[in-house]
């Protein structure tokens, strides 16, 4: 009766030589759900992300996206299926403008063919339409005035916004956000929280979030998964994780 969960991760294991980065982690994510992934540095959060986005091939386990096995697919295949991610250290294209960055995000949607592009006009129209759409989205997120600026010349917070606009321009089903709040001012963090919540609530996007900014995690996440040394040590609503003093002491470094 129930639809399969948006994302279903089963006993994922990722090894780098002798190091076991992720040791048999399982969890599920439903559409419209916001799930935060927390844990100390080296806990395996980003590796788990990389496995889901196809940047790392897991050594064991299964990853199902809308019921379909995606472990071992390439990043561009997973992206084309509707699973998008942002990167910890800026995944923007610094030489391209903000607008062009969003357009690269729309790459699959634009769909202009090579020969059609050289000799036809319908591909050219698709290009113009995509540009209009990208501009509109930038205005909608309040950064329309930055469209013609090179991404590399924007402030950290602005870059973060461009990256999020780029990710959501494609109407993804699943969004993986790797530390989106790094380098953001407190106001920008609040804006980010609103954006994340809206995406999940109004557009039914399933969001997986790695974040060290604990107040952001507590304010947006429906569920918090705590990782330590490649293993899942907690998977509960934020208030329960917050109450779990052992988790806080051990993995967040304060009680």
């Amino acid at each position: 009766m129930a639809d399969p969960p948006l994302l279903s991760v089963r006993n994922i294991e990722v090894r780098f030589g002798g190091l076991v980065a992720v040791a048999g982690v399982s969890f599920e994510l439903r559409a419209g759900e916001i799930c935060a992934l927390i844990g100390p540095n080296g806990a395996g959060k980003t590796t788990l992300f990389n496995a889901v986005s196809g940047n790392v091939v897991p050594d064991a386990g299964s990853i199902r996206f809308r019921g379909e096995e995606i472990a071992g697919l390439t990043p561009h295949e997973i992206s084309a299926l509707g699973g998008r991610r942002t990167f910890q250290n800026g995944g923007l294209f610094p030489e391209l403008t903000a607008l062009e960055n969003v357009l690269v995000g729309l790459h699959v949607q634009v769909g202009s063919g090579f020969l059609g592009l050289l000799f036809g006009s319908s591909s050219a129209r698709a290009e113009v339409a995509a540009t209009e759409r990208a501009r509109e989205l930038l205005w909608l997120m309040g950064i329309g005035h930055l469209a013609e600026q090179k991404a590399g010349e924007l402030s950290g917070g602005q870059q973060r916004m461009v990256e999020i606009v780029r990710a959501l321009a494609t109407n993804p089903l699943l969004l993986l956000l790797d530390e989106p709040a790094v380098g953001l001012s407190p106001t920008a963090r609040q804006q980010l929280a609103v954006v994340i919540r809206n995406l999940a609530r109004t557009r039914n996007v399933g969001i997986l979030l790695i974040e060290h900014a604990i107040e952001l995690v507590m304010s947006v996440a429906d569920r918090v998964i705590v990782l330590n040394e490649g293993r899942k040590v907690a998977d509960a609503p934020p208030e329960e994780v917050r109450a779990d003093r052992a988790v806080l002491e051990a993995y967040l470094g304060h009680a």
Binding site: H76, S79, G91, L106
Partner: protein, 314 residues
């Protein structure tokens, strides 16, 4: 943005130019024109895709020899040889992309692809039956649908039409999702894949397309000089072609055109001092790297936004 359309007036303005030039100057002008497609292909791979592949002279030589041999030995009309010259140049480009697909980058890629050009030069020397070996071969006077291209003036108009077409197509390509994908791969290959771009396929495409355009440049070279020798495709030639894109501006179509003109015309000043032309390329490259790392095109971009390279339409 429609201001950009005024650029298409440039070729019209150029139409009467050769009438004021003597025959040698017309030949130099034709050389500048044929180096535009040669630079376009090189710049696409090095400037836009960001891969340091030095196999450009291989496609250039292949285009020239394919066109020349087909004309001399098989009586194929020149304009028809443009197609095989482009196809073989493109195939050579696709082959040259193999190390890049294996993850070879930077200096290592430069050396491996450089060897490709040298291997081709060795082939022209050894395959005497077709190429005439190191003595070279004469290229017959081309004929375009009954119109004999026996003067530099006539070739100028054919070259101009061809170059305008290739520049227009390249402009269209760069300002589409293909051009953006190349830039994205240069800036951040992992993020490009995360955007749904099959990066490997795009690397092959850029090399193959670049090789095809350079191959056409080679076919133009064949009829412009009228005599092909392997020496024309050596490392000095590679340096000249590299100077075009460095001086003009990496990743800039406007820059390629500027570079082709400067690198062809500047050595003419030293025409009476043999060997000085190489010194000129070297000096040009050094000066530009020191003072204008983004090439002469960046001066234009700074002067007016209409010269800023864009990767979208509308």
């Amino acid at each position: 943005m429609n201001l950009r359309r005024i650029f298409w007036l440039l070729p019209i303005v150029l139409l009467p130019l050769p009438l004021w030039l003597n025959q040698y100057q017309q030949y130099v002008l034709n050389t500048a024109l044929l180096y535009v497609p040669v630079g376009i292909g090189f710049n696409l791979v090095v400037g836009n895709l960001g891969l340091l592949a030095f196999s450009n002279v291989a496609y250039f030589g292949l285009g020239a020899y394919v066109s020349g041999v087909l004309m001399a030995q098989f009586d194929v009309p020149w304009w028809i040889t443009l197609l095989p010259a482009a196809l073989i140049g493109g195939a050579a480009g696709a082959i040259a992309s193999i190390p890049a697909l294996r993850g070879v980058r930077l200096f290592y890629l430069a050396i491996m692809t450089l060897a490709f050009g040298e291997l081709m030069r060795w082939t022209y020397i050894r395959w005497e039956a077709l190429t005439g070996g190191s003595m070279g071969m004469a290229v017959p006077v081309p004929n375009l649908l009954g119109w004999t291209l026996d003067t530099d003036l006539r070739r100028f108009y054919v070259f101009l039409a061809l170059v305008v077409m290739l520049v227009a197509i390249t402009d269209r390509l760069l300002r589409s999702r293909f051009g953006r994908a190349f830039m994205a791969i240069k800036d951040n290959e992992i993020a490009a894949a995360a955007m749904g771009i099959p990066t490997d396929r795009y690397i092959v495409l850029a090399f193959a397309w670049g090789g095809a355009v350079v191959g056409i440049g080679g076919a133009m070279f064949a009829i412009s000089v009228g005599h092909l020798t392997p020496v024309s495709f050596d490392l000095t030639e590679l340096l000249r072609q590299f100077a075009i894109i460095m001086v003009g501006g990496l990743g800039s179509l406007t820059g390629t055109i500027i570079g082709a003109v400067i690198v062809t015309v500047a050595p003419q000043v030293f025409i009476s001092f043999p060997g000085f032309d190489e010194l000129v390329f070297g000096l040009l490259i050094i000066l530009v790297i020191l003072f204008l790392p983004r090439g002469l095109a960046s001066l234009l971009a700074r002067a007016h936004p209409v010269f800023v390279e864009r990767y979208y339409r509308g």
